[in-house]
Each structure stands twice: as C-alpha cells, then as structure tokens.
C-alpha cells in the first residue's frame, strides 16, 4: 500500500491571475481555510486587506481557524516616491505571503526579505485546520509524535520566480514547499 505524502501546500499566484479574480479576498480566504499558504506576486490593497480582516473575523472558529498571517514587502518610508509623499498614499505591499495563522508564523521581515515558518507540529498539539473532524484527527495524530522540526521558508524579493503557480479551481498534483 502506498502511503499518501502529507505536507502543506504553497501556491504562488501571479499578478495576472490575481487581477482576473472577481472576488480576490474571498478566493484567498477560502484557500487559506483549507490550510494552504498563498504567495501573491502583487500584495492586497489597503481596502482589500481590511476586507480580508473583516471576513477573517467572521470566519474564525477557535477549534479550526484562528485567523490569518499576512506579511508583505512594504516600501520603506524613505524610499517612497515624491508623489506618494505628496499625496500621502502608502503603496500596497509589492509581494505578500498569506496563510492560516496556526500554520504560518512570521519570524522576521524587512523591505528585502520575509522569513517565515510553516509549522507542521506544535508541542501543545493544537495545530488544526478545517474541517473540525479532520482537525480532530490531526490533533490526535500530533499528540502521538515527538515534537519535530518546523519547515522554514525564506522569500526574497529578488528570488521572485514563479514556482508552481496554481490558479483558482486547480489542484496541484504535488505539495510544494518553497525553501
């Protein structure tokens, strides 16, 4: 019997694809609730981010989904264009990683890189994603194993090549971790 590989799916969404989405925030949230980590080539605007926060708050269920983690590359104030300063407009993040808060933890970020952990196991065992029944199975499974290493990903702006771009409705054949 062949055992199915387990892991966390990381999807990279191109700018073009993001712009084609009718309900970008809805799509992202739906995917995140499935336990996927999304890397956006173009960050969400401030309005989209506040929409994401509101919708996330409505979806939070303490047993299965505690919210999102969404670090992005922001232009440092000193590097803002003259026009941006004049108009007092902060540009949206140039790139963004969004994932379930229980799985994705930002370690450090600055204008050049984002270091994040994709948590695969926690000491307390309350690592779970929807649906609750599945979550229960995951938690039980975690309790039985020793605490193991966590996957660490580093996303650097310069290394922004598209790796395994997955569009809405498509499923990747293999789970991808961008290390």
């Amino acid at each position: 019997m062949v055992e199915k590989e387990e892991g966390i799916e990381v999807n990279l969404l191109s700018r073009e694809l993001l712009r084609e989405l009718e309900d970008k925030v809805g799509f992202i949230l739906k995917e995140i609730k499935k336990g996927k980590v999304m890397v956006l080539e173009e960050g969400l605007t401030a309005e989209e981010q506040v929409d994401l926060i509101q919708r996330t708050m409505r979806e939070i269920d303490q047993d299965s989904f505690i919210g999102v983690e969404a670090p992005g590359f922001h232009t440092p104030g000193a590097k803002l264009s003259f026009l941006a300063r004049l108009l007092r407009r902060t540009p949206p993040p140039r790139m963004m990683v969004i994932g379930p808060a229980r799985l994705l933890k930002t370690i450090k970020k600055d204008g050049r890189s984002i270091r994040a952990l994709i948590v695969t196991r926690t000491p307390s065992g309350h690592l779970s994603i929807t649906p609750p029944e599945e979550a229960k199975r995951v938690v039980e499974g975690v309790e039985e194993v020793e605490e193991g290493p966590e996957e660490e990903i580093t996303v650097e702006e310069e290394a922004g090549e598209e790796v395994g771009v997955v569009g809405p409705g498509e499923e990747s054949e293999e789970e991808e971790i961008w290390e």
């Binding site: 605007t45 401030a46 309005e47 981010q49 506040v50 994401l52 926060i53 509101q54 996330t56 708050m57 409505r58 939070i60 303490q62 505690i66 919210g67 999102v68 983690e69 969404a70 670090p71 992005g72 922001h74 440092p76 104030g77 000193a78 803002l80 941006a84 300063r85 007092r88 407009r89 902060t90 949206p92 993040p93 808060a101 229980r102 970020k109 600055d110 307390s124 309350h126």
Partner: protein, 208 residues
C-alpha cells in the same frame, strides 16, 4: 489680518463642526485605552476604560463625549472613541497559556474580540479623525498598522500617529517616523503623560 483672511476665518468658523469625533485605533496592546484614559483624565478627570496587559481587554468601542481641549488660545470639543484592537488572528490558547485565563473565559474573550475587530472597522465610517496608536518598542511595519494607515489615506480621514510607550528603554519613535515620513508622528508616553501637550496641540491643528 487682511480682508481675505478674515473672510476665510469667518467661513471656517461657520462651517466648522462644533464637536469632532476622534477614534483611537491600533493593534492590541499598543496602549489605546491608556491613551484614552490619559486624554479624558487630563480634561475631564474621568477615565474611559480598564487597561490591562491582557490583549483584547477592550472588546467593545467606548465613546467618551465632550472632552474640551484648550491649547494656545484654541478650544475644541472632542468625542473620543476607544476602539477594540485590530488583529488578523485571535487564538484563545494565548489567553490560557500566557495570561492564565480558564478555557471558558478565554474562548468567550476570543469570540468577543473577533466581534470587536469588526466593530472597530465599522466605526471608521463615523469618525472625523483618528489617533493611530503604535507601540514604539515594536516593529511599526506590522499588517495592522499598514492596513489601517492605507485605509485612512484612501478614505481621506485625517490622522496622527501616536508613537506610544516612549518610557520604555527599547522604544524607538524615530523608527516609526522613518516608516511613515509622510504623516505626523507624536512620541508620547500615555502611561506617564510625557509629551501629551504636543499631542493636544497636534489634535487641534490637524483635526479642527
């Protein structure tokens, strides 16, 4: 003062709102309620809410009306709204493990906190100005700060960034100023009251 200036001044007085509603916004534990209490105590002698070290202590917006601030010969009446902290995630385990709450209380607090975030965002439609409170001992480039500032810019709501907690040794209000050079930043300690006069001057200047 020329005729034009006098006319402009009269027009400004004519159309100026008598009371301005200012929202206090920011991530959890930035010191929003401490700031609301400081402002209210300084001008009315009363406090607004309970400030504790546990995140999401304020889970419903609290409005303190008719705070009359008088600085430099000007007088402006503010209604101050202390809003719940905005967050992208709320985990009840944090309340249990880090602050010793029992599970039932932690779950209730988490549930109320999610509703509080939604309520805080809704209040943005009903404020004339905003004090964005940031902890100057932490990285200002967190998602809440960026989202908040981007939305205020888009909605054209005037705001002041309050670089709070400058009484802490590790605080760096300059980091906040460098992060948002296009906006006014006032370093204060809401806890000790340090530099609050500068904030009152800025509130009168930018909001009225």
């Amino acid at each position: 003062m020329g005729i034009f200036d006098r006319l402009l001044s009269k027009l400004k007085r004519l159309f100026k709102k008598k009371r301005l509603r200012v929202g206090i916004y920011g991530p959890p534990n930035a010191g929003k309620t401490t700031l609301a209490n400081r402002i209210s105590k300084d001008w009315t002698g009363e406090t607004v809410g309970l400030a504790t070290e546990i995140p999401h202590e304020t889970r419903k917006a609290v409005e303190k009306k008719e705070i009359v601030i008088k600085v430099g010969g000007s007088q402006v009446t503010f209604d101050i709204v202390d809003t719940p902290g905005i967050a992208t995630k709320i985990d009840f385990h944090e309340f249990v493990e880090d602050y010793g709450l029992d599970e039932e209380e932690a779950r209730r607090r988490a549930k109320e906190a999610t509703e509080g975030v939604i309520e805080a965002i809704k209040w943005l439609d009903n404020v004339d100005g905003v004090l964005v409170v940031m902890d100057s001992a932490r990285d200002p480039f967190n998602q809440v700060n960026i989202t908040l500032i981007g939305n205020l810019e888009a909605r054209k709501i005037p705001f002041i960034i309050v670089a709070n907690k400058i009484d802490l040794k590790e605080s760096s209000p300059a980091t906040i100023k460098n992060a948002f050079p296009q906006h006014p930043v006032i370093p204060v300690s809401a806890l000790t009251g340090y530099n609050m006069d500068s904030l009152y001057h800025a509130m009168v200047k930018y909001f009225s």
